[in-house]
Symmetry: C2
DNA sequence: TTGAAAGCGATACCAT
DNA sequence: ATGGTATCGCTTTCAA
């Protein structure tokens, strides 16, 4: 069913059909009604591909996330909210932290299937073919992309990590360990640096416990905590690189009869949904995920509208005190 | 940068460029190398919109999920695996259980922005404009769509609910209550029916406790359990409509000092990731989510290849016994 | 092996 | 207010 067939049915020209749909005010009321009725009756839907080609825009935006964790979904939620407000449709692709797949989605947009793309934490940003390939309009969320001059909306992981560490120190902890996320990931690095810096400022040795760097999974948290539990003295406070690691650490503790918040305090990062659901509820650093996505898409739409400013928004984190941190024993 | 410009640069025709990219074997080796080098150097990427229009296919598939819960993401994961195997790209849209938004994505595909779409649990399937609007190739996942003759790959919720209830009965429970999900949702209905039927078969009254129907959130589980805790006698076993409800129920119990698995047994449904992470780990019914998505996309691709068989695949669930169910006290 | 040209379906400019 | 038509960028048939 094409626009021509509808036009033929009505004995009008394709232009009239097109106008009835896009600029109804241009038609005589009678014509408009007649056309729209027929369109409805025939169930005609314009071929968007043809329209996109002609208009040179799709009003479709892509969001690319590294994993399907609840964390990124929250970001996506914010993006969708902004998309609705600005009249864009948005679809999501996920890369499983595989640069090739990330490139695939970027290429989809570069090849005009979308008007722009939000990259939420490029896995290994430097691997993106920003030089050889044409880049579509991009906004980076959560982390800037090196070598790419794209607006970014980020979170101050460094500051968040300092807040987390300071919370532990303020409670009186002196034996504090850090369980880090993926070593190569910029975010994980910032968090570690925040920890190191705070410890140093307090005159404490950030390397008093083994260097622990893994991924962002519960299993890693468990293994890392097992390592810490072989230390003498034991740490009294643990700053986990994210909530999942924190949960893993707590699990490892309870297996040997240690109680979190009393024997050892644990603080996470992100404030994922599970953080408040877990028993006991996790003390953590809240990352404004939804807001992040929302800001990112507004930035993108702004860019598409011709605004070329090099923006770099940094959103604040906040400390959420729940039940897994307390004063050190004795 | 269009194909013409590249062609002009090289002094060949656009056809040659097109062939170098799509059917390299048709070109003389020398020409091919020359073209591909230039393409690479200029960073030329074909306009997919134009290609799609000409080829009348996109090799892009849509997946539409109602919410961004981990449950549906698992389904999406399966879809992606199948897509990679069959050479399709996949994007995801989510509807927040809003039919209008579901329609929007279906329309995207009907309007040729994609070749087909997988609908994971249409919110209110009957509301989809299957009559007035042209429907693109559709496969239903998790739940069939009434009024739409689409292949479906589903899960036997009824049987799963019977297994859940029977597990409780086999442990010796006689005072068993059900906390249901959204009343209007087909899935929730099937689960309740499975519960009712099993109770009846065992000579027990499925309506001995208040009729509880809400949504699939933790908060609802808490409220529902608070209601149950006002009953006399208390239930000794609770079959929750999904894992989140189960967690809510357990939280309500612990607030009044009741221990799950000992004072009251609770079984969930879905086996979401949180089920094994929770403390204590949830006894539940596993839904093969990833498999569901995988089967769905294979079905869709099959359909796109011209196979018109009316398939209806039903996947089995399985009982996962963990720590929240035990024998009734005394 | 390569080139010329038609055509995919819609839109928007230029006429009338 | 409506119609005719060029055009978007690519693919593919037909011809050479």
């Amino acid at each position: 069913m094409t626009i021509k067939e509808v036009a033929a049915q009505l004995g009008v020209s394709p232009s009239t059909i097109s106008r009835a749909l896009a600029h109804p005010e241009m038609l005589r009321a009678e014509t408009r009604v007649r056309v729209l009725e027929t369109v409805e009756r025939l169930g005609y839907q314009p071929n968007l591909i043809a329209r996109d080609l002609r208009r040179q825009e799709t009003r479709l935006l892509y969001v690319v996330v590294p994993t399907l964790s609840p964390f990124f979904l929250d970001v996506f939620r914010g993006v969708e909210r902004g998309a609705r407000e600005t009249g864009y449709a948005v679809v999501m692709g996920h890369t499983e932290r595989d640069v090739a797949r990330e490139q695939l989605f970027v290429d989809q947009v570069a090849s005009r299937r979308g008007d722009g793309v939000i990259l939420v934490t490029s896995s290994d940003p430097t691997a993106l073919k920003v030089r050889t390939k044409r880049m579509p309009p991009v906004v980076a969320a959560l982390e800037e992309i090196k070598g790419l001059h794209a607006p970014a909306v980020r979170v101050d992981h460094h500051k968040g990590a300092m807040d987390a560490t300071n919370h532990l120190l303020a409670l009186g902890h002196r034996l504090v360990a850090h369980i880090g996320g993926p070593e190569k990931q910029v975010i994980a690095q910032h968090r570690r640096e925040g920890f190191n810096e705070t410890m140093l400022q307090a005159g404490l040795d950030p390397t008093a416990f083994p260097y622990l760097s893994g991924d962002y999974a519960v299993a890693w948290g468990e293994r890392a905590m097992e390592t810490l539990l072989t230390c003498n003295p034991l740490p009294t406070g643990v700053f986990a690189g994210n909530d999942e690691i924190a949960i893993g650490a707590i699990r490892a503790m309870s297996r040997v009869g240690l109680q979190v918040g009393r024997d050892i305090s644990v603080i996470g990062f992100d404030d994922q949904r599970i953080a408040s659901l877990y028993e006991p509820a996790l003390t953590t650093i809240k990352v404004p995920t939804e807001e992040l996505g929302y800001r990112a898409i507004l930035l993108l739409v702004d860019k598409l509208r011709g605004n070329t400013a090099e923006v770099d928004i940094v959103l604040p984190t906040s400390l959420i005190i729940r039940a897994t941190t307390g004063m050190p024993r004795g």
